[in-house]
Symmetry: C2
Subunit: 318 residues, 2 copies
Amino acid sequence: MIQSSHTLTASELDQWFNQRLSAVEEALSLWISPDAPAGLGQAMRYAVLDGGKRLRPMLVLAAREAVGNGVKDETFDAAAMRAACAVELIHAYSLVHDDMPCMDNDVLRRGKPTVHVQFGEAQALLAGDALQALAFELLTPDSKSTAMTYAQKSIPDDVQARLCRLLAKAAGFNGMAGGQAIDLASVGLALNEHQLHEMHLLKTGALLEASVMMGAACGHTNAQVWNCLQRYGRAVGLAFQVVDDILDVTSDSVTLGKTAGKDAANDKPTYVSLLGLNRAQEYAEQLLHEALKALQDSGLASAHTLVALAQRVVNRKT
Amino acid sequence: MIQSSHTLTASELDQWFNQRLSAVEEALSLWISPDAPAGLGQAMRYAVLDGGKRLRPMLVLAAREAVGNGVKDETFDAAAMRAACAVELIHAYSLVHDDMPCMDNDVLRRGKPTVHVQFGEAQALLAGDALQALAFELLTPDSKSTAMTYAQKSIPDDVQARLCRLLAKAAGFNGMAGGQAIDLASVGLALNEHQLHEMHLLKTGALLEASVMMGAACGHTNAQVWNCLQRYGRAVGLAFQVVDDILDVTSDSVTLGKTAGKDAANDKPTYVSLLGLNRAQEYAEQLLHEALKALQDSGLASAHTLVALAQRVVNRKT
């Protein structure tokens, strides 16, 4: 294991996490208006609020703090909070659509009935669509706005454009949506490790990697730091999926807050079905090692939270 | 009728339209990669290419030409082509999702089987999602790209940010998706004129208005011109919907390329069911008058194509 002189203890990470979590939850609640027409706001809020590990927003904020070297910058901090919420909206919309009857047909998510069970399929479809649009709306606040409260603080145009670019690519056909299409087409097929890798790099990896890069875009970086953070993001993204596959067979629905064992039930290829449980766990450890090595190579002095987040991704129980 | 010294004849508009149409079709075909994973690219291309009136892209291009005063500008022209395609992708995705069984359950669109009939519901859902993401990807090309072909030409960050802002807002809960939620909730209800107006301002009006504003964002404008073009866009957007409602009862499926009479069959409130056919036609004329008045007030010397497009929206037969 690579040692870092700045590794956080579990309780230090908890403290860091919980402080940011309150801010993220508050911002999400502020930005997803309950007044959206005809119950749409309620469905959107139901899909996003009161649940979720918020890993993606935390990766955004931790990456922003790492490149900011711990120095406060109101503009970049406001941009990072918007980016954190935008990424979470994309993640949440993908879950809403993924749970629908024509996809995974799942009824339980974060311990609650899924959005289409609660609000009907049509409203779930629209809520997902509206959440994706809202993500890009959050990233592009109008600089001419005169109300400069925290939530309305302007962001430089170049940062807005870069954040939209990173998020759009990660969400689209070359990212999450493309990975889901592969997932859909792969049910019942015997994928090899390379194919499974490709699928997950897109399906979950792209958005996790984008979270790190969007955080890095909220600050000044050079190409070397940028590349190292990209390696980190890619390794953490893949590790997340490997652990997800492990938990799907080693945990239960109550602990996970979603239906356990559904990959096997749906005859979906996973790292566990391909490698077996032991080698899947070794692979997760190897990816953690790669992530920490990338941080070390970056030379960033304030990467301790990114270190701790990567460790938590691999060691999580839910 | 307000007279313009620069009104195009029908054949002049056809010529203008067809020239731009080829460029838009070519750009859409270039940007929607057939290589997107697992057949997703095929479903996306099927949803967008070879069909559609392309009214929204044409409004973008006409507005850009109006604010550019006929002067060529490679950067703004490239931005406008991206904006034109992005708006069309949002429109196309909304049709894909709107046609799905949980929404309108329609099997015919642009004279072809709808996307979910052709590719299955899950792929249709993903194709729509990926088209929305691609719209924002088109608007945010990487300025560091070294390949500066036409399609890869860079766009200034402030224009990228403004285009994303306009499109995200028009597509989301305060625009198209919100309007669709009202539409969904209004089936079988007796809406009054104000409520119907609100629904259509969001459902179809927001994206048509945004098309005009995105074209205007690809150039230098002052606040007065901006406001006039917004009035124009809003009037044309509403007129489009009124005429849509009229055609739904006066035309047939073959002419329309989609199922005629479906509003009445679905017990949906329309301008025709509310006002009767004659008053609906008068209302469309009134909105055309408002649109042309707004152009006159703008003082733009090169607004003749916008004039002709508004006239065509109201006088169209499909």
